[in-house]
């Protein structure tokens, strides 16, 4: 057992560090460090830079454009990336649909979709949840009925993150009749968002941002060739994707850099010498250290060939708890300014006076927004149920 980096790994870290220093646009890293939202253009610009270097998708197999990094190298990358303030690559294309396409898709599908995902030419969104199917996803009702070479899709998807930007959606639809058991009636479709019959309407979150959407399908024609794998086998593919999604959610590197920034800012506050504050910060830091090693253990197991199992639920559960604890510490540090809500002052064209010390004024909106993290991606209650059933056998 040992945790030291080899000389090669240290050289890799230097290489990553230098790349980020040279190539990461400053306007983007500043917004990331302040915890502000990015525009579509920011994400695309950064991903194109990464793609030049071939570093978009560390988790993909090399043959499709992955980096071929060891788990240690991925760990180094994540740490350096977050410390530098580089945004995470939007997950919908690279981390969610791509693994399904390269694992279960046809050669034509791989060719059609994977290069554009890497190059950020196409924006993807995830069409799983429906108004009446959240935690119980398999009960979904959006239907796809076969008509010649097409499916005709009708129904409503909701909570679709950044769907307003999306060119394509990966979507779970019901292809089996009502007599078929839910999990065996679902197919996995790729839907071009410009197809007639699709309406996208905004949903605003507690911080006032349009982060999610409701999407209606009225007689939308989707070619059968856009189905992944077999009809009625979509649930199996989606499950693979869900475990992939969960491993990314520990947020260790991100939480580390946010904690470091919190401590730096708190040093100038009278709070810095307050024992209650010191204990709260220490508690968060200690929990994060344990989580970091839990994640490393999981990654080490994966690198020896095991698929990420139900243990990844721990990463999601505790990762989001730590993230939310840091959010609350940020609000606490802001004190009275925690209540100020002046989002326009973070826009590039704002030229009035700033309200509140830098980096505090957005703390409460961020805290509100991040409540989503214990709800989405399989809520923390559902993750707990998974641990009960799949691990403890309860």
């Amino acid at each position: 057992m040992n945790i030291d980096f080899s000389p090669e790994e240290q050289a890799f870290r230097d290489e990553v560090h230098a790349f980020l220093q040279d190539e990461l646009p400053q306007d983007i890293s500043e917004r990331v460090k302040l915890g502000l939202h990015l525009e579509k253009e920011d994400y695309v610009r950064w991903q194109k830079i990464l793609n030049q270097r071939g570093w978009v998708a560390p988790n993909w197999p090399v043959e499709y454009g992955g980096t071929g990094w060891s788990s240690t190298q991925k760990y180094i990358w994540e740490n350096e990336r977050t410390m530098a303030g580089a945004p995470e690559v939007i997950a919908f294309g690279t981390k969610m649909v791509a693994p399904v396409i390269y694992t279960f898709g046809t050669d034509e599908q791989k060719e059609q979709f994977l290069p554009d995902i890497l190059a950020s030419n196409v924006w993807w969104c995830q069409g799983y949840s429906e108004p009446n199917s959240g935690s119980d996803l398999a009960s979904l009702r959006t239907s796809a009925v076969r008509d010649g070479d097409d499916y005709i899709v009708n129904g409503t998807k909701t909570w679709t993150t950044l769907g307003q930007y999306a060119d394509w959606m990966f979507c779970l639809v019901r292809t089996g009749g009502p007599e078929v058991k839910n999990q065996q009636a679902i197919s996995f479709l790729l839907i071009d968002m410009t197809t007639p019959g699709i309406t996208v309407s905004p949903i605003y979150l507690l911080d006032g941002t349009r982060e999610v959407n409701e999407i209606h399908f009225e007689n939308v024609r989707v070619p059968v060739s856009n189905r992944i794998g077999e009809e009625n086998e979509g649930w199996t593919y989606a499950k693979v994707l869900l475990t992939h999604e969960r491993t990314g959610t520990a947020n260790v590197a991100n939480s580390k850099s946010r904690l470091a920034s919190l401590k730096e800012r708190a040093a100038q506050s009278p709070l810095a010498t307050d024992p209650i504050w010191q204990q709260k910060v220490a508690d968060a830091e200690i929990e994060l250290l344990a989580l970091e090693y839990t994640e490393l253990r999981t990654l080490a197991a994966v690198s020896t060939g095991k698929a990420p199992g139900p243990e990844s639920s721990i990463l999601k559960l505790i990762g989001t708890e730590v993230l939310q604890a840091i959010d609350e510490l940020n609000v606490e540090l802001a004190g009275y300014y925690g209540s100020a809500f002046v989002p326009e002052q973070f826009e590039p064209d704002y030229n009035d006076i700033m309200i509140g010390p830098d980096q505090t004024a957005n703390s409460a909106p961020t805290y509100f927004n991040h409540r989503k993290t214990t709800i989405y991606g399989g809520s923390n209650e559902i993750q707990t149920n998974i641990i009960c059933k799949a691990i403890l056998g309860l």
Partner: protein, 375 residues
């Protein structure tokens, strides 16, 4: 021992409660929040007509009597509807300090129109660097003969954008950290050298940052003795803290009720959420939090009345405990609602936001825990 409201308090509760349930539905509130002024002047006039604006004041000043219990009766009901009209900021905070410090001439000029609903005031006390320690006030006031010149910056002045007159906590002698040397000046909000920037707060209310640049006023605009305002200021802020504690209790009750109701309606896996024991236990815990919050609120209000208005240890106990309850109840209500809990559309998230702000107003939960321990 008697925990029941007297007849007058029951009438007050019914009257505010009726207003909230009949005139303050969610769409009406939203329209008010989005309006230019951020509050409804028609509602404000109604508050005056119904006598609510006299509640925080002594009979000698023309008020209802100024008891802490009366105050929490009003605020708890307002909390149920997340009322944004500036009752707490204008009447309890600014009005409360006036009633503690002002001379009879100042009271006559200001308190009567305040209670009649014709005057908006704000108390400017917070400063960027001070957190919650009032003796750290630095905003400078320099007395030269008959004039007082103010220079400095005040943060997060509740109701500061619409206020016609400002009560400004300034330092006329000594240095930050000294208990003496803090004074209150009455400044016309339109005076030369006063610059305001109004903004919304995360909970749909309004506040302003205010800059004073060589604002020159007559020395007679001091409210109370020069340099001796700290204890009255702390007592007034404690009273406002009690008010938001009561507001929190009202808001928590609604959050709990809405969560329990929703859990019965929302179905997943073919059953209501309310059938999952994991969620049942958490709602039971929310209920216990609300009850504990209510108890400690009554304790603090009665202690304040008993002590002639100021009971720092008991107030801090209440603010600390209610802060913890507000955190727990509001977070759980969002979580149990799932996705719609984090949307702007649904009221539950707005209760969560107000319950969050209250935790950090007039001393955070931890600040009051510390103050309790030291008392």
């Amino acid at each position: 021992m008697d925990f029941s409201y007297n007849e007058e308090q029951q009438m007050l509760k019914d009257s505010v409660g009726k207003f909230v349930s009949q005139d303050y539905d969610w769409d009406s509130r939203r329209a008010i929040v989005d309006s230019d002024s951020g509050y409804s002047s028609a509602h404000w006039k109604l508050f005056a007509d119904l006598g609510w604006l006299t509640v925080p004041f002594l009979e000698a000043d023309g008020g209802l009597g100024g008891s802490a219990v009366d105050l929490i009766v009003v605020m708890e009901e307002m909390g149920k509807g997340l009322v944004v009209e500036p009752f707490m900021a204008n009447t309890v905070l600014a009005g409360g300090l006036l009633s503690a410090l002002a001379d009879s001439g100042q009271k006559e000029a200001l308190l009567a129109p305040l209670m009649a609903g014709e005057l908006q005031l704000a108390l400017a006390f917070a400063e960027t660097e001070n957190r919650y320690e009032l003796n750290q006030i630095a905003c400078g006031g320099e007395i030269n003969g008959d004039t007082l010149v103010i220079n400095g910056h005040k943060s997060m002045v509740l109701n500061g954008g619409v206020a016609q007159q400002l009560l400004v906590a300034i330092r006329t002698s000594g240095k930050p950290g000294d208990d003496s040397g803090i004074s209150i000046a009455l400044v016309d909000a339109s005076a030369a050298g006063v610059n305001r920037k109004e903004y919304t707060t995360v909970d749909g209310q309004r506040a302003a940052d205010i800059w004073f640049e060589s604002v020159s006023i007559p020395v007679t605009a001091l409210v109370g003795a020069d340099g001796g305002a700290l204890s009255a200021l702390q007592a007034t802020i404690d009273r406002a803290a009690l008010a938001v504690c009561a507001e929190a209790v009202g808001a928590m009750q609604v959050s709990l009720t809405k969560t329990v109701e929703y859990s019965k309606i929302r179905k997943q896996f073919g059953v209501s959420l309310s059938t999952f024991q994991a969620l049942q236990h958490r709602m039971a815990r929310m209920f216990m939090e609300v009850e504990q919050a209510k108890s400690i609120l009554l304790m603090a209000a009665m202690a304040m009345d008993h002590a002639g208005g100021y009971a720092p240890r008991e107030l801090s106990a209440a603010k600390s405990r209610i802060g913890k309850a507000a955190r727990k109840v509001s977070q759980e209500s969002v979580q149990i609602h799932g996705g719609i809990g984090v949307t702007d559309d649904l009221d539950v998230g707005h209760y969560f936001k107000r319950l969050t702000s209250i935790q950090y107003l007039f001393g955070s939960t931890d600040w009051h825990t510390r103050r309790f321990a030291a008392a």
